[in-house]
């Protein structure tokens, strides 16, 4: 089992979600996060004073999948989230030891 984590532009969330649902993904978790990479921050003007904002708002999207689906799913996210501009985000895959469904106690792939 794998955990696919994607950091994407907030405005791309709807596109990515639709693509994932079409791909057959049954659930996902999102959170609002802040960070920076190559895009760095941006300059804001407040009352005529300029400030550099380091952290930019992004959306983190997490999906649990079976081992053999992870690569394809990553491809779907990358394709849907890409605008071609700096700041489009990143996607990574990490292995998962155990998954338990709280309601039934099922574990492993059936709990995904």
């Amino acid at each position: 089992m794998k955990l696919v984590t994607a950091i994407i532009q907030p405005e791309m969330l709807e596109t990515v979600q639709k693509a994932l649902v079409r791909h057959g993904v049954g659930g996902m978790t999102i959170s609002e996060v802040s960070g920076y990479g190559r895009q760095r921050g941006h300059v804001e003007v407040y009352r005529g004073e300029e400030y550099t904002i380091d952290f930019i708002t992004k959306v983190r999207l997490e999906v649990l999948v079976d081992d053999d689906e992870a690569e394809a799913l990553t491809g779907v996210i990358v394709q849907a989230a890409r605008s071609g501009q700096v700041g489009d985000g990143k996607v990574w895959i990490v292995p998962v030891d155990t998954i338990v469904r709280v309601r039934t106690g099922e574990s492993g792939s059936t709990a995904i």
Binding site: E44, V45, Y46, G48, E49, I53
Partner: protein, 461 residues
């Protein structure tokens, strides 16, 4: 002299008094939205506490210090057939506890004296609350509460008497600015805005800047709250200015229209400056422009024409939009721009009367642009600078006294984590569902049973 009480005038002044009281919660929202989320309640409470301390002081002896028979001395007159008495301070004992004012014979102009007491009480309350904007996020609530008391007694009550107490209205002798000098201040450009604005500067200097001032952006956390507050201020300000006619008459109507149009012009002017300078007309700029216009027209509402009011508002809007940037260059942390908006706006409005005063207005005085020469302008300047110097010096001394005794600043750790929790044990926005899953407790409180259980399972290790 027997004076008739006018039912119409009384009804209007009582209504106006309620409108002015509403300005203080309006100011609380205006200020509260401008600070960061961790300080919103403290900011709001600094305004509300003024309704407590000043409200009680006003009844005890504040009214008497402002509107009792003025203690002073005889000097030469400054104008033909003018007043020779230089009134400095209302007798604090004459109307202490508002004694004798409940009688039906007690009138001020054409209204019961207590209606005038009510109206002026709300002025004193908001004047003190205005100052708090300079010391956002960092002042101990006890220090601020003590400041409102000392500032009311030593600064506001005397100055209100200088400006608002006309000879023969509530006592034989009134204050020197209104009578001896003859400066025009319809609703408090000097007594309220220059006074509170320069006192705010004194506090900002004594307290020092917030941690991170000038290097970290401290943007408003809730602009919708700021706009709501600005709207309530504008609404209440019709009571403030039109009510200052102390009658339901032409002067009140002129003041109402001037208050509307000067504010409209100031908002446009501020937004234009922002658009040209920064690229975006901001909602904070609109709210600030509204307040700048209201401040500037406050002294001038009864002495300029509606066209003159447009000039007063527009000039103040531009002046204040540039003045709010000074704090970054000069390094004083006037957090919410009390100096930039209230001091600068009040100064602009007070001095512009000397230029734009229209002889056809209720005040009947001609300024420089209406052929009146410089006579009114110097009177305005003397009044404005006298209040500025007195208020700055006394406020600075009060602030120093508090700093040396009970102290002003909360600890750096409390300031960084947020003054709301440190000083009031509350958070402005309990939006996280996590807080409500058990009881509303931010810290997990373990009972003895929990601890026993934990000891048994070894979890406490």
């Amino acid at each position: 002299m027997i004076l008739e009480i006018s039912a119409g005038d009384t009804a209007w002044v009582l209504t106006a008094a309620a409108l002015v009281l509403l300005m203080t919660p309006g100011l609380a929202f205006f200020y509260g939205g401008m600070v960061r989320a961790k300080s919103v309640l403290n900011m709001i409470m600094m305004s509300f506490i003024s309704m407590g301390t000043i409200g009680v002081l006003w009844v005890l002896f504040g009214y008497s210090m402002s509107f009792g028979d003025s203690l002073g001395f005889e000097v030469g007159a400054t104008s033909d057939g003018g007043v020779t008495y230089f009134g400095l301070l209302g007798n604090p004992f004459q109307f202490a506890g508002l004694q004798g004012l409940m009688s039906p014979d007690s009138v001020a102009g054409t209204i019961p004296t207590l209606a005038f007491v009510a109206f002026q009480a709300c002025f004193a309350i908001i004047a003190a609350a205005l100052v708090s904007g300079a010391i956002a996020d960092r002042a101990s609530f006890g220090g601020w509460t003590l400041f409102t008391i000392l500032w009311g007694v030593l600064v506001y009550f005397p100055v209100a008497g200088w400006v608002f107490s006309f000879d023969g209205m509530t006592a034989e002798h009134g204050g020197w600015i209104a009578n001896w000098l003859g400066a025009l201040d319809f609703a408090g450009g000097t007594a309220i805005h220059i006074n509170a604005g320069i006192s705010a500067l004194a506090l900002a200097l004594v307290l020092g800047p917030r941690i991170g001032f000038g290097t970290k952006p401290m943007r408003p956390h809730n602009m919708t709250l700021v706009m709501l507050g600005a709207g309530l201020l504008w609404f209440g300000w019709f009571g403030f200015n039109a009510g200052s006619a102390v009658a339901a008459n032409t002067a009140a109507s002129v003041a109402w229209v001037n208050t509307m149009v000067a504010t409209s012009a100031a908002m446009l002017a501020w937004l234009l400056v922002e658009k040209l300078r920064d690229g975006h007309p901001t909602s904070l700029g609109a709210a600030s422009g509204v307040v700048a216009g209201l401040v500037a027209i406050t002294p001038a509402a009864g002495s300029v024409s509606p066209i003159g009011a447009i000039f007063v508002g527009a000039i103040a809007g531009v002046a204040c939009a540039y003045a709010v940037g000074l704090k970054y260059k000069l390094g004083y942390d006037d957090s919410l721009d009390v100096v930039g908006v209230h001091f600068v706006g009040g100064m602009a409005g007070t001095l512009l009367i000397g230029l734009f005063a229209d002889p056809d207005s209720p005040a009947g005085v001609a300024g420089l642009f209406y052929g009146g020469g410089l006579d009114q302008l110097w009177r305005q300047a003397v009044g404005a600078f006298a209040v500025m110097i007195y208020a700055f010096v006394v406020s600075y001394l009060i602030a120093l006294l508090i700093k040396k005794t009970i102290g002003w600043r909360i600890s750096p750790a409390d300031e960084l984590s947020g003054i709301d929790l440190a000083e009031h044990s509350e958070a402005g926005y309990d939006l996280s569902p996590v807080y409500y899953t058990n009881k509303v407790q931010r810290t997990l409180v373990l009972t003895k049973d929990d601890l026993d259980e934990a000891a048994k399972t070894g979890a406490s290790k």
